[in-house]
């Protein structure tokens, strides 16, 4: 009797012990820096040569300076480059996921293709960007090939043209992430009850109808998840454009993303401005996270409500 009681108490204690390392690490490496970032965003605090200036409290001056200095423009750049990469990514991924999971197609070497499309994600983004920088330079292999094939009369200067640079960034993001998205969507499709597909087939659905009427609605929660995580990832776009444009966001700052802008301030050790940029990014990311949370939960809630509704009449019927 006494033994049993003792065991019950100690279990909870060990539980806290096991989760403690996470909370300690979180506190030291995430929470305190976060609070510090927010705190310093209200200060003038930077390094001038080898002298440290500040921290002097300046209120909201950093924030107002930020919005005067094209913050919106860099946000726009980030969104444009994200869309250039995301639109083809989601279309190709959906297509591939539908094909790979279709039992009637019987694609051979599925596993092999899955590995191949996931491969670009394993390369470091910076190495990938370096590769593209070399490939698409003014005298690079792409230009040489296009000119010798007679498609172009003289080399096209990709990295000196606005849409050339943005397009390359989008293309790289697409190549790096479509494999990952495909695998996520495949998991979602395979999670659908096969009897639904069988029923659709029996009722004479064409493959297109099956895709739009059965598959798409059923994987909606995963699609929303993919969209939002990709948005958050896009918001943090940095390494690809940074390496491709040598940190300058050329031409005319049209490929300067928010994080590259943040990096510029961090490089000159301007903790005040960098803090202000970070805080705004944090708020945007937090809103996006909440959006995911509510869309996913709202979905569950509405199902539960529907179920309850379905039960109610029966109960009434029994009572009646």
């Amino acid at each position: 009797m006494r033994k049993v009681k003792g065991k019950e108490v100690s279990y909870a204690k060990y539980g806290y012990l096991f989760i403690a390392p996470f909370f300690i690490a979180f506190l030291i490496f995430q929470f305190i820096p976060l609070i510090q970032t927010i705190y310093y965003s209200f200060f003038e605090y930077y390094r001038s040569g080898l002298k440290i200036i500040g921290p002097n409290p300046v209120g909201l001056a950093n924030y107002s300076a930020l919005f005067e200095a094209d913050f919106g423009r860099y946000a726009g750049n980030t969104i444009i480059m994200w869309i250039i990469g995301f639109v083809p990514q989601i279309i190709i991924s959906l297509l591939l996921a539908a094909w790979f999971t279709d039992i009637r197609l019987k694609i051979k070497g599925k596993q092999f293709f899955k590995v191949v499309i996931y491969m670009p994600n394993l390369i470091m983004a910076s190495a990938f960007a370096m590769l593209f920088f070399a490939l698409f330079s003014d005298n690079g292999p792409v230009n040489t090939t296009l000119v010798s094939m007679g498609i172009l009369s003289k080399p096209f200067r990709f990295l000196s043209s606005v849409w050339g640079t943005r397009g390359l960034v989008g293309l790289m993001n697409f190549l790096m992430w479509f494999g990952n998205t495909t695998i996520l969507l495949m998991a979602a499709v395979m999670g659908i009850n096969p009897s639904l597909f069988e029923a659709a087939e029996l009722d004479g659905c064409s493959p297109r109808q099956t895709f739009f009427r059965v598959t798409l609605p059923m994987i909606r929660p995963i699609l929303v998840y993919v969209l939002i995580t990709s948005m958050i990832g896009g918001l943090q776009m940095f390494d690809v454009p940074q390496i491709l444009t040598n940190g300058k966001g050329t031409p005319d700052r049209t490929s300067m993303t928010l994080i590259m802008y943040l990096n510029n301030h961090l490089f000159s050790k301007n903790y005040g401005m960098a803090g202000a940029v970070s805080v705004i990014l944090f708020i945007i990311a937090a809103i996006l996270c909440l959006a995911v949370y509510f869309t996913l939960n709202a979905d569950d809630d509405s199902k539960r409500v529907r179920k309850r509704d379905r039960f109610k009449p029966r109960k009434e019927a029994v009572n009646g």
């Binding site: 040569g49 330079s137 043209s161």
Partner: protein
Amino acid sequence: MKKGFKAFLSIALAAAMIFGMTACGGGGSSEGGEEAAAEQGKVLNIWCWNDEFQSRFNDYYPGVAEVAEDKSTTTLEDGTVVKWTINPNEGMNYQDKLDAALLAQESAAADEKVDIFLVEADYALKYVDSDYTLDVKELGLTDDDMADQYQYTKDIVTDSNGAQKGTTWQATPGLFAYRRSIAKDVLGTDDPDAVQEALADWDKFNAVAEQAAAKGYKMLSGYDDSYRTFSNNVSAPWVDGTAVNVDANIMKWVEQTKEFTDKGYNNKTSLWAPEWAADQGPEGKVFGFFYSTWGINFTLLGNSLADPEGAQEVGNGIFGDYAVCYGPEPYYWGGTWICAAAGTDNTELVADVMKQLTCNPEIMKKITLDTQDYTNSVSAMTEIAEDPDFGSAFLGGQNHIALFVEAAQKIDMSNAGPYDQGCNEGIQGAFKDYFDGNVDMDGAKANFEKTIKEKFPEIESVNWPE
């Protein structure tokens, strides 16, 4: 009970091991630090941005005993180990890393402290006018030691209190290096005096550019090639207080480069880009390049070879096809100074390195004869300039040192300042978009202002010339 004891024992043992190890490590390093502080250190840390000084040191410093295979360390005869820390210069990367190291200098262990760091003309003042550099005279260098050096190389590293904080083995007057074969085709002669006559001022230079374009050549490779000839002849430093003042001469560079670009006189490359380097090689169709001393024997020679690993002789690429003349305006480019970091534990060795590698006329002369670099010894350079037998095979037998001696007297670094690298890179980057046609003049100006304010938060305004 038994199980519990075993577990306890193993944990206790593991803990003992970990604590034992850390205790050992901590004790060891602190002991070493105390010893080193008492006398001269056994490790000399040198910070630089390329292997130029490293190879000079390894080849010419008398005390060198052994160089590591990967060149990361050099061992001296007295057993001192020289550790090289090399960080690329571009985008103020070297300054950034060096700043971090210097700010941590006080708390660093004796063998980790920076002992020597190199600085470039573009930001020398930032370190010279700080407490992080030592007065070379306090280290033991005398005016007599340095009497043979060019005065400007001493002026630029002299702080506002008159203390000289660095010293250099080179002077860096700039010249215009042109292709003999192209000059013959365009001007009918490759004689340096005649070519100089044809390029004596900017109007003549532009006229030759037109002639060269008519024959299918480019006058210059890219946007930044002539930049230094303009930026070195400005009337005031970049920064005054918290304002950046763009000099009228810089705008002349913008005007000329835009004209060259629109008329097809250049190849639209940027400094240090692979296309730019290729233009200097066998396939290049570019009339010439503005280069200072180190650029001719170090960069241009390397780029001119068809087979970089092959012998440096006529027949390998366009070796021998270049010659030099003064060009339209005198200028300088680059230059590397040796500074002693405050807090160094190797004061004697640092002083000796400075003495041997910047003040010893024998070594200076030998460096020039071996590498054709232009060294900081007026007497040795004049001697070589007057030597009728001296000539550079790379330049078709021309005695380029004679031209450098002339050009070196015209160097004026009085307008150099601590912000120069950031401003020079900033304006070249901002106006590249203008030359490419991506922005108009106002857009380029606005982008320059943004870049400067990001790089230097203390800058409040940017003033443009009328």
